[in-house]
């Protein structure tokens, strides 16, 4: 073998090291963002935390893209150029009729777009309904309704901010876990922040719904439903994260005791 040709083993270690050094020098700051430490894969940390870390990186990228689009989109919506629809429930009175004799669906006719049909079993007719059915519609916010548009835009930006807080804190928690030292007081604070975010999402939804009910001018009147954020689910998630924060607090205390034990 010629002297200047390395064996395969040497090639794998020698050239790769040189190549990585070159990559690190040139793209080091981007690598820091991606934190591509291959020894993490099943080496220093488990595959679970590695996969979670990777998912968070992808989410961060997606959030960056959404955030970059947020400002121009917000401007579009506020100036009345973008379509914004709001889910709502139609309040009576409304007219109910059948499409045809074979189709047992209810068509709710009103001045705006129909978006839901209720199917009835064969033989059942609308006039036998004891109560008006729940009819859900999508309200397209009028161009001139700047108040409602501002509320929707503000709510969307608020949700984006909460998403950033979630991803930001999760990434730092996972990073500390990858580093092998997750039980630190900062993670306790981060988990408590995540719990607050879980409680904040439905509150934001509720606030948006209440304000939109007042700003939306529609005839016939409607009740804004909102994004349909699962209150109970998020409340349970928030409580679970708070409980986890207490676990981490105990772990942090034990870790500190261990550090101070000779």
């Amino acid at each position: 073998m010629p002297a200047n040709v390395l064996s395969s083993g040497q090639y794998a270690s020698g050239v790769c090291t040189t190549e990585r050094s070159h990559i690190e020098k040139r793209y080091g700051r981007y690598l820091l963002f991606f934190d591509m430490e291959t020894q993490s894969r099943g080496g220093a940390v488990g595959y679970g935390i590695w996969l979670f870390n990777l998912t968070l990186r992808v989410l961060t990228l997606a959030l960056i893209v959404v955030s970059l689009a947020a400002a121009p989109l917000a401007l579009l919506f506020l100036t009345g150029r973008g379509p914004i629809t709001v889910p709502a429930e139609l309040d009576p009175p409304y007219r109910i009729s059948f499409l045809d004799e074979q189709d047992r669906s209810i068509v709710v006719a009103s001045d705006f777009r129909i978006n839901e049909y209720r199917n009835f079993d064969s033989g059942e007719e609308a006039r036998y309904l004891k109560e008006p059915p729940d009819v859900r519609v999508d309200i397209r916010i009028d161009r001139a309704d700047t108040n409602s548009r501002a509320v929707m835009t503000g709510s969307a930006l608020g949700a984006l901010l909460l998403a950033w807080v979630t991803v930001w804190n999760l990434r730092r928690i996972v990073r500390s876990a990858v580093g092998g030292d997750p039980f630190v007081p900062k993670n306790v604070a981060r988990l408590r922040r995540l719990a607050m975010v879980a409680f904040a999402f439905p509150l934001l939804d509720l606030a948006t719904t209440i304000i939109l009910d007042r700003t939306l001018e529609s005839d016939p009147p409607v009740d804004v439903i909102g994004a349909g954020v699962g209150w109970w689910v998020l409340a349970v998630v928030g409580l679970a994260v708070l409980a986890l924060a207490e676990v981490f607090r105990s772990g942090s205390d034990l870790r500190q005791l261990e550090l101070e034990t000779v």
């Binding site: 005791l257 101070e260 034990t261 000779v262």
Partner: protein, 66 residues
């Protein structure tokens, strides 16, 4: 902390430095520093035994209650 550590005094009596003790006992300088400066919240029996063996002393020579 109500428990006082007299490691300094014992080392001085035996003419030993902290570095030498660290090498003999196999405890890091950082941990010995924590112990010496009274910042330790707990000491393992194994550590105490190793110190006493190396310094040829009793636990009471190293520790006292205020």
């Amino acid at each position: 902390m109500p428990i006082e550590v007299h490691l300094d005094k014992v080392l001085a009596d035996r003419g030993m430095t902290l570095t030498e003790l660290s090498n003999e006992v196999g405890i890091t300088m950082a941990n010995l520093s924590i112990l010496k400066t009274g910042k330790a919240r707990a000491i393992r029996f194994s550590t105490l035994a190793a110190l006493c063996d190396t310094l040829a002393c009793q636990p009471g020579d190293l520790l006292s209650n205020e």
